[in-house]
């Protein structure tokens, strides 16, 4: 990312979109940029920033969608990234997207952006919801109070966006003297004292913003200033705490809200009587302590049913397509073993990714994104919060666990919705134990097919019990205290197809760009092992594990391949024994042990690689070892128990 703040003759403008979550920021971003988007990571942080480019009057405009946040403190990485972006990248204009129907709370955030002193334009979005609630906002008054342009928008209906864009461009070209939000007298005096003390120094940010952040004891900004400034700050903060009888951080929050409240009182007017809040009516059913869970179960079951029906159809179709190509390829005039290597080693990996995994995860993520955009995922978090607390994480962690049923790789990314690293690690470990679509294929193809569906359900149930106990264990022994849930409940809304497709793509992208190459490479390595005739040695090395699990060594060997991609276990079983009638290879008890162990014994390489990317090598190795050891112990116990039945 470039920093061209001093470059006056450049032809590129940067516009950043900031705002709370659930205010329609992404919709505005999509409407402004069309299909032209890149998703990138902010350096050093696991926060995604989306960018789009548009051309207008020979001007190249870069639009950046910053994460949805509620404050500019250090509560989450998203907050740090947002303020770093505004301070370091110095966008030409920051569009603050505000939920007009929740003006008071949104002003709290807007005031903090104004504190930075960046050029700001306000999009008063979801204005229709405000009107439905029976209110209106005095735009002229709000503009004069804030000293920045304010535009009414209804992004989902593309209303007001043209004006927003034009006024943003106008703002970019004009000079702007920031009018900083003014707080109470006692605080202003002390902010000014700090600003004065800071005057000999040079900073990236306005001294006023820095002074406020110092008063808030913001660690990131404390690092920037000399000790004597911090001493002065301590003294001033103490004075304020004595006057107000509150901790300094609370005082500043109260001051911002007091100002937000004054502004709201001046601009917000009641027009008609409030209409019925449908979201609340729906929630009476969907958040009901009994019916709520009933509908949750129903919705999830329906989702899995659709996914597996549609997925197996798609998978058969794509698999058939590749199968029909194979004879043509094999008839090419090439060296026989080279052909085998290319097909089995390289193409087969692609077939697996596109023919076995993708058909299941694509419809799965489509439905999940639909639920997300409708507002229902927040309700799932609400319903599952009490239960999730028993395993040390809060309700929001249930969402990556659901994502895991598709593929573990994007699910680990999905744990980013959690605020703390500890919570993310617990949720990720649990996510890797959730049967992904590949593992479900095994359970269906082996356990359900040869033992009956009851046993397949039993394996799922065993797995869920196992996940619960692992959660209990982790919560007990991992350092740190659990975080509680504080979550805004968005209104229900009609999902927007474009947003759903984009969310689906964001989830699938991890699978394509991250998991697929790993699947293909590991497939090639496996083929190499077979060609080099190294299998007998491997078979020897798995003997102890075969003994523990009570499985034939050759069948145990397939678990090694399963580490590359889970469904390979079944494919290799058929390859090694030259039959797909697994009842001839394994006894029913062995099938059960095999099915259970495949579900939990190790994250696949793509998942391990993702764990490494998100949490570092040490954590990735520890998780892998932990799961391997645990599964061998449990598999061994299961094997022993079954002998006595």
């Amino acid at each position: 990312m470039n920093n061209g703040s001093t470059n006056s003759h450049r032809k590129q403008l940067t516009i950043a979109l900031a705002g709370n979550a659930n205010v329609g920021k992404s919709v505005i971003f999509n409407q402004l940029t069309g299909g032209n988007q890149i998703i990138g990571n902010w350096p050093g942080k696991t926060v995604e920033i989306q960018e789009g480019y548009i051309e207008k009057n020979g001007l190249k405009i870069r639009v950046v969608d910053l994460p949805g946040i509620y404050s500019l403190s250090t509560y989450s990485e998203e907050e740090i990234v947002t303020r770093e972006f505004i301070i370091k990248e110095r966008p030409d204009v920051v569009i603050v997207v505000v939920d007009a129907s929740a003006l008071y709370r949104n002003l709290f955030f807007l005031l903090q952006i104004l504190e930075i002193g960046a050029k700001t334009v306000v999009a008063l979005n979801q204005y229709d919801l405000l009107e439905r609630d029976g209110f209106e906002i005095d735009l002229q008054k709000l503009e004069s109070l804030l000293n920045v342009p304010v535009v009414k928008t209804i992004a989902t209906k593309n209303i007001g966006l043209k004006e927003l864009f034009e006024r943003t461009l106008l703002m970019a070209s004009r000079t702007y003297v920031p009018k900083f939000p003014k707080y109470g007298k006692e605080i202003e005096e002390r902010i000014n004292k700090l600003v004065e003390a800071l005057s000999p120094y040079d900073f990236d940010v306005s001294k006023r913003f820095l002074a406020i952040k110092l008063l808030e004891h913001d660690e990131e900004f404390e690092k920037l200033v000399p000790k004597d400034i911090l001493h002065l700050r301590d003294k001033l903060a103490k004075e304020l705490e004595e006057i107000h009888g509150e901790p300094i951080r609370t005082i500043i929050i109260q001051e911002r809200y007091a100002l937000a409240s004054r502004i709201t009182a001046e601009v917000l007017r009641k027009k008609t009587k409030r209409s019925i809040d449908f979201s609340n009516r729906i929630d009476d059913i969907l958040l009901h302590p009994v019916f709520g869970f009933f509908f949750l179960t129903l919705i999830l079951l329906f989702m899995f049913f659709v996914v597996f029906k549609f997925g197996s159809f798609l998978s058969d179709y794509i698999g058939g397509l590749f199968d029909s190509l194979k004879p043509h390829f094999m008839s090419l005039k090439l060296d026989e073993s080279l052909k085998t290597f290319i097909w089995d080693g390289l193409i087969d990996g692609l077939v697996a990714a596109f023919g076995i995994v993708l058909p299941y995860i694509a419809p799965f993520y489509l439905l999940l994104s639909f639920l997300e955009d409708s507002g229902y995922l927040a309700r799932i978090a609400f319903l599952t919060d009490a239960f999730m607390h028993k395993i040390g994480i809060h309700g929001k962690a249930f969402i990556p666990l659901i994502e895991s049923f598709g593929c573990n790789v994007p699910a680990i990314m999905g744990t980013r919705v959690l605020e703390r690293r500890r919570d993310r690690i617990i949720a990720s470990i649990l996510a890797t134990l959730v049967p992904c679509s590949a593992r479900s294929v095994i359970v269906f193809g082996l356990v359900a097919a040869f033992l009956g569906p009851i046993y397949a359900i039993l394996i799922y149930a065993l797995d869920f019990v196992f996940i619960f106990f692992v959660g209990l264990l982790l919560n007990r022994y991992l350092k740190g205290t659990p975080t509680g849930l504080i979550m805004e409940m968005p209104r229900y809304r009609k999902p927007v197809l474009r947003i759903i497709l984009k969310q689906t793509w964001i989830r699938l992208k991890e699978f394509f760009t991250f998991a697929t190459p790993i699947i293909v490479i590991s497939n090639a390595i496996m083929e190499g092992l077979i060609l080099l005739k190294l299998l007998p040695y491997l078979e020897l090395s798995v003997k102890p594990f075969a003994y523990i699990l009570g499985l034939p060594p050759l069948a145990t060997l397939t678990l090694v391949f399963g580490a590359l991609r889970k469904e390979l276990t079944l494919i290799m079983l058929a390859t090694f024994y030259k039959t797909s009638n697994f009842a001839l290879i394994l006894t029913p008890k062995q099938i059960f042990v095999y099915g259970f162990v495949t579900m939990i014994y190790i994250p696949c390489v793509a998942t391990i690689a993702m764990l490494k990317r998100e949490f570092g090598t040490r954590v990735a190795i520890l998780i892998t070892l932990f799961e391997f050891v645990l599964s061998m112990i449990l598999g061994g116990i299961l094997n022993l128990l079954l002998r006595f039945i």
């Binding site: 509560y75 709370r105 302590p289």
Partner: protein, 83 residues
């Protein structure tokens, strides 16, 4: 009468009186700061929309709905207001 938010029945309107915070701490806990940033401040009038005795409590603060985990709710001291 003072009580903690987790004990307030649904559809009641209460005023935030205080937060249970360890005394003589320079830094108040992060979750209290976050609550305050979301608008749950001392003196604020909030409506308890949903409290079923298990799971989070749903409240209405100045037009926004917030779900607050039971543990955190037990740290918010409130007093009922008659309206």
């Amino acid at each position: 009468m003072y009580e903690t938010l987790d004990r307030v029945k649904a559809n009641r309107i209460v005023k935030v009186v205080d937060f249970v915070v360890p005394k003589h701490h320079i830094h108040i806990p992060q979750y209290i700061v976050r609550l305050q940033e979301m608008g749950v401040l001392k003196g604020e009038i909030i409506e308890v929309r949903r409290n079923t005795g298990i799971g989070p409590i749903e409240i209405n603060v100045k037009g926004t709905k917030l779900a607050i985990g039971r543990g955190i709710a037990s740290k918010i001291i409130v007093e009922e207001v008659n309206e």
